[in-house]
Symmetry: C2
Subunit: 327 residues, 2 copies
C-alpha cells in the first residue's frame, strides 16, 4: 500500500503519519510506501523500513500534483491548506493553494486515467458554515461560509463530490471540528484561546481568555481527528452514496465547561493561570461560528469523537505531556 | 447607466435585452450604454439611441473579462454558461466556461479596483440541488448537485458570496426554476418535454411525452425569469445580507396539471397532439430533480412568479404567438 499525505508537516499531518507508521498497515494492507509533502519538507520518519519520499512542494504549482501522482498512491490524505487567518489576509494565496491546489491534485488523479481511482480523503472544516444557525446544525444545512477559507473548503467539497460522482476518483470529505488541545506555542488564530486556556495552565503558564465563559463551540481532539482520517480511508464508497462530504462528530462545550473540566483534572490552582482579558474583535468573530451539530450521518458510518471535555484534556496529557501534568 | 450582459444571445439574454430596451431605464436611471456578449455576437438592437457594443467572445479566454470591464458597467447580468447537458458530456468545457469563466469575470471586476463595485446578477439554477429531497425544499437546504453543471453553478454561488462579502463586487445569485415554455425548436435536453408538450400542440404539431403524468417539477416562465433579473438588479444589498444566493419562487406542477391547463386554454383537440412514448432514461434523470420549494426569502424580497400553469401558458401565447393560438 502506497499512501500520499499532503500537508504532512502540519499538526494533523505529523500525527497522522506517526499513527500510520505505528500501525504499519491501513485497512489490513501493509504500508510499503509513503509520499509526504508540504511547503517545508516533512521530517523523514524513523523506524520505517518501507520506501519514503519527502518532498518540499507547493501543491498549486503546475508540476507538483502530477509528480506526486506518478507512482499512483492507493490512498491520498489531502490536508494541505493555507489556514483560515492567512486565507482571509491574503485572498490570492488562499484561492491559489486551497482552491487551485486541490483542483490541481484532483485533476492530476483524473489525468492518470487507466482505471486509477484512489481513495482521496479531504479535510474540510466546519468553517463551511456561518451564522445565523439553527440551534443544532443537521447534515442537511446549507453551506454558508463567512470566510474565504470556508468558501474554499466548501468549493473543494463540491469539486470532490463531482469528481467522485463521475468516477475520476473515490473521494470523501470530512469536516473537522475545531481541534483542541493543539500542541505547541500560542498562535494568532482567533480560535487559539480554546487550546491555550488548557495547554498553558497545564504547563504552569498564563493563558489569556478573550471571550466570556458562555461562548459555545464544537470540538474534537487531535487524536480524534487522526482517527477520523483513518476511518475515512477505509470506508466503503457504497456506504457513502453521492453525498460524500460529512460533518464529523464532536463535542459541544462552553468555555466555562472547558475550564470546569480543567479544574476537575488538574485542580483549581491550575485554572488560576487563566487571565480574563475581553477582546471585542475576537468575541465578534467567534459569535459567527457554529456551536452545535447533529452529525448523524458520520456517527452512523462509525466515526467517533470524544463525548466530554475531560476526555479531550486527558488525550492532550497522554499524547503531548507523557501522561503527566507539568508545573 | 451602462449595462453588461454576458450570454446575451441566449433565450433569456435576448428577452432581457429586449425588456431593458423597452423600459429604457433600470432602477430609474436611463440606459445609455449596453455591452452585449456571447460566443456568437448578439444581434445589435434596433431602436436604441444609446451606445451598443456587441462582442463575440469566450468568457473564459484571459483577455475577455478585462476588456468587458474596461468601461466599468454599472450593472452586470452574468448569464453566460454551457448548458447542463453539454457540461455533463464535456467536463472540461463546463469547468472552463461555467467555473473559470465566471471566476475570470469576478476577478476582472476586482482588478478594476478604485472603489468600483458593480451590481452583478448571476443566474444560478435549481440544478444546485439533487435528490433525495425533503417534501418541500427550504432556503436552508444544502447544495447537493448531481451534475457537473449544478456543481459549477454551486461553486460560482460560493465565489460570488465571498467576493461580495469582501467588497470586491455587489453580487446576487438567483436560482432559476426550469423555464417553460421555451420558444423555438425542440431540443435534446432531458427537460425539453416540459416545454414541447405545450409549445408543439399550440402550433398544431405533435409532441412526445417521455414520462408519466404524475412527474412533478418546479417552473416559471421566461417572462418571470426576466422579471427576476430586473428585480435582482435593483435590490438593495443591505436587504440581502451575506446570503446573497436565492432560490427564486416558482410553481410546482405535475405533467398532468400542465396538460390540464393546456386543455383549459386551448381545448381537448390541442391536447391530442401529445403522444406518450415512455423513455426510462429520461424518467430516471428527471426523478433526481427537485419538485417543490418554499422560496420564502425571495418572496419576502419581492420576487414574483406565476401561480398557475395557465398563466405560464398564457405568457407563452402572448409573448411568442402574438396572443393567438396557431393551428
Amino acid at each position: 500500500m502506497h499512501i500520499l499525505v499532503t500537508g504532512a508537516s502540519g499538526m494533523i499531518g505529523r500525527k497522522l503519519v506517526a499513527r500510520l507508521l505505528e500501525a504499519g498497515a491501513l485497512g489490513g494492507r501493509p504500508i510499503e510506501r509513503l509520499t509526504l509533502t508540504d511547503v517545508v519538507a516533512p521530517a523523514k520518519p524513523q523506524r520505517f523500513c518501507g520506501n519514503v519520499v519527502s518532498l518540499a512542494a507547493d501543491i498549486s504549482a503546475p508540476a507538483t500534483a502530477p509528480a506526486l501522482l506518478a507512482a499512483r498512491p492507493d490512498v491520498i490524505f489531502h490536508l494541505a491548506a493555507v489556514v483560515s487567518g492567512e486565507a482571509e489576509l491574503d485572498f490570492d494565496k488562499g484561492m491559489r493553494v486551497n482552491l487551485d491546489g486541490s483542483r490541481a491534485l484532483f485533476e492530476a488523479v483524473r489525468m492518470v486515467g487507466d482505471g486509477y481511482r484512489p481513495r482521496l480523503v479531504f479535510t474540510s472544516s466546519i468553517a463551511v458554515f456561518g451564522a445565523p444557525f439553527p440551534e443544532t446544525i443537521g447534515d442537511d444545512f446549507h453551506l454558508t461560509p463567512l470566510t474565504s477559507y470556508g468558501t474554499q473548503k466548501a468549493i473543494v467539497e463540491l469539486l470532490l463530490a463531482d469528481y467522485t460522482r463521475r468516477g475520476f476518483l473515490d473521494g470523501i470529505g470530512i469536516r473537522l471540528p475545531t481541534i483542541v488541545v493543539r500542541p505547541g506555542k500560542p498562535n494568532k488564530a482567533a480560535s487559539g484561546f480554546f487550546s491555550s486556556i488548557i495547554r498553558e495552565p497545564l504547563a504552569g503558564q498564563e493563558a489569556v481568555l478573550p471571550v466570556s465563559e458562555d461562548v459555545r463551540h464544537w470540538f474534537a481532539s487531535p487524536r480524534a481527528a487522526v482517527e477520523f482520517l483513518l476511518h475515512a480511508a477505509g470506508l466503503a464508497g457504497d456506504r457513502l452514496g453521492l453525498r460524500i462530504n460529512l460533518t464529523m462528530p464532536g463535542l459541544t462545550s462552553t468555555v466555562g465547561e472547558e475550564i470546569a473540566a480543567l479544574a476537575r483534572i488538574a485542580g483549581a490552582d491550575v485554572v488560576r493561570h487563566i487571565r480574563r482579558e475581553p477582546d471585542a474583535a475576537i468575541a465578534r468573530i467567534v459569535a459567527g461560528w457554529p456551536q452545535n451539530f447533529d452529525a448523524r450521518r458520520a456517527t452512523a458510518l462509525g466515526f467517533r469523537a470524544e463525548t466530554s471535555f475531560d476526555e479531550i484534556i486527558r488525550a492532550h496529557i497522554d499524547d503531548e505531556l507523557g501522561g503527566r501534568i507539568g508545573r
